[in-house]
């Protein structure tokens, strides 16, 4: 067996091992590669920056534990940004597990910025129905969500005073890992009610949302862990996404090397067989 045949028949477990090493080593010994901020993330950040203190942000959590490494850092960074600017957060979840993950991020942010539940932020919980729920929010928020996530009537929360429907919300942010998610918010909240919508999505689904960004249907877009890391960079924070960027870059470099390497030996082998 010559060297070309050996490389063609390489055990895939060696590739797995190299990928794991490419992830573990940079996490143990960070290099601190520079994180460039892309235009969609900058626009997302600007959309929050443009809001006056006391403005209302509707934060909708449409993700679960399986996409936590990508979306949860966005949630943390976003909450931190909102609280640092004294914005009020009204949150809901169109995915059941998103409610508790979002609550965790908001409680963490509230401790850091000394914010109070019911005054500065509220979590209205989960409601099944996706697109129908968004339509209902456009008409009447208190009727759609009469209780918060812990089944307490929303009338007791100061933050809900004067909030009737989406007209009282200044910006909608959907952190989504699928449907229902950003797509439905764009369709209903932007398309029907003309609200500004920003989206934080998993990297797999990010390319599908660029047309919305190009058409102005989305104000800003964060895609995957990279998007979250860029947002953390704008906030001058080092969160879990930034910590993972060295590993991400090195793993990508390794995969590019594998693709070039495999193609080279594939064509060499083909040539030799001729």
């Amino acid at each position: 067996m010559n060297i070309i045949e050996r490389f063609e028949a390489v055990d895939r477990r060696i590739i797995f091992l190299l990928i794991i090493l490419a992830v573990v080593i940079p996490l143990l010994f960070p290099i601190g590669l520079k994180i460039e901020v892309s235009d969609p993330v900058q626009r997302f950040y600007n959309a929050i920056e443009e809001l006056e203190p006391g403005s209302f942000v509707l934060l909708s959590a449409e993700y679960d534990a399986s996409t936590m490494p990508e979306v949860y850092p966005m949630n943390e960074a976003l909450v931190s940004h909102c609280f640092s600017k004294d914005l009020k957060i009204v949150s809901i979840g169109l995915w059941p597990q998103g409610v508790s993950l979002n609550q965790e991020a908001m409680e963490q942010g509230a401790r850091e910025y000394e914010k109070e539940y019911g005054v500065d932020y509220v979590n209205l919980g989960y409601k099944a129905g996706g697109i129908v729920v968004i339509s209902a929010l456009g008409e009447d928020i208190p009727t759609t969500f009469p209780q918060d996530y812990a089944l307490r009537p929303i009338e007791q929360f100061k933050i809900m005073e004067g909030i009737e429907n989406l007209d009282n919300i200044d910006l909608i942010v959907s952190l989504s890992a699928g449907d229902p998610g950003v797509r439905e918010w764009v369709m209903i909240a932007h398309g029907r009610y003309g609200k500004n919508v920003c989206g934080g999505v998993t990297a797999v689904s990010a390319p599908a949302f660029y047309p919305f960004l190009n058409a102005g249907q989305l104000k800003g877009l964060m895609g995957g862990m990279k998007g979250a890391a860029e947002y953390e960079t704008l906030l001058k924070q080092t969160g879990t996404a930034s910590a993972g960027m060295d590993a991400q870059s090195i793993a990508h470099g390794l995969i590019i090397f594998f693709i070039l390497f495999a193609n080279f030996f594939y064509f060499m082998g083909k040539r030799r067989r001729r």
Binding site: F16, V23, I131, M187, Q248
Partner: protein
């Protein structure tokens, strides 16, 4: 190293799943079956307590809103699909769902995916402000930003030409179709790149959990 029992269980189950990368083994099988069982139980409870009880049981049996008999009947008819004899009954709720969803989404989809997209693609062929920025600050980034809109327009038109099968792809038409294929290939490549990024992110998330939350070494 943490003393939290929950973190230990999560870490050991993560290792069980990752062991599949070496080869199929009993640890992987155990974790896989446990996941399937726990997920099924979780979702069953969630649907009962978050959907059935608040949206059907409470309005109908607690508040006495008789209109809710209709969704109850449609729900029972849907379950009939499980039995061969009365399976035909499930067609009615299915037809109701398809009809309602189609009617509800028709205008919204048209607005979001057709009208707004066509307007953004074709009405603004050239973004003058991007070209002004390019001439004020010449560089690769400003140049790419300036040509973005024309590139999108060319990509849309040639992509549509490729999917026009009523005429043979020859001559100028064939050239346009070939250009469309190039745009499609680049789009697929970008999409694949994002997919790789997502998968690596998930691996980073798990490794970070093992090193940070479990072993406390970072």
């Amino acid at each position: 190293m943490t003393t939290d029992i929950g973190t230990w269980i999560a870490a050991l189950l993560t290792l069980c799943i990752l062991s599949f990368l070496y080869k199929d083994n009993p640890f992987y099988k155990f974790a896989e079956h446990l996941f399937v069982g726990v997920s099924a139980a979780y979702w069953a409870c969630y649907y009962i307590y978050n959907i059935l009880i608040p949206n059907l049981y409470n309005p109908l049996f607690v508040q006495g809103q008789l209109l809710y008999i209709i969704p109850l009947a449609l729900g029972i008819m849907m379950i009939m699909k499980l039995f061969p004899q009365p399976a035909w009954m499930s067609r009615f709720p299915l037809a109701f769902i398809v009809g309602t969803y189609a009617g509800y989404n028709f205008i919204t989809y048209l607005q979001t995916y057709a009208i707004d997209q066509v307007r953004a693609t074709l009405v603004r062929f050239v973004a003058l402000e991007s070209w002004q920025e390019f001439f004020a600050r010449p560089g690769a980034v400003t140049f790419l930003s300036a040509i973005a809109l024309p590139v999108v327009v060319v990509g849309v038109i040639t992509g549509l030409v490729y999917f026009f099968f009523s005429r043979e792809h020859k001559g100028i038409f064939g050239g346009l179709a070939k250009t469309g294929v190039w745009f499609l290939m680049i789009a697929f490549g970008a999409s694949f790149g994002y997919t790789v990024m997502a998968r690596i992110s998930l691996l980073i998330g798990r490794v970070y959990f093992l090193l940070h939350n479990w072993l406390h070494i970072i």
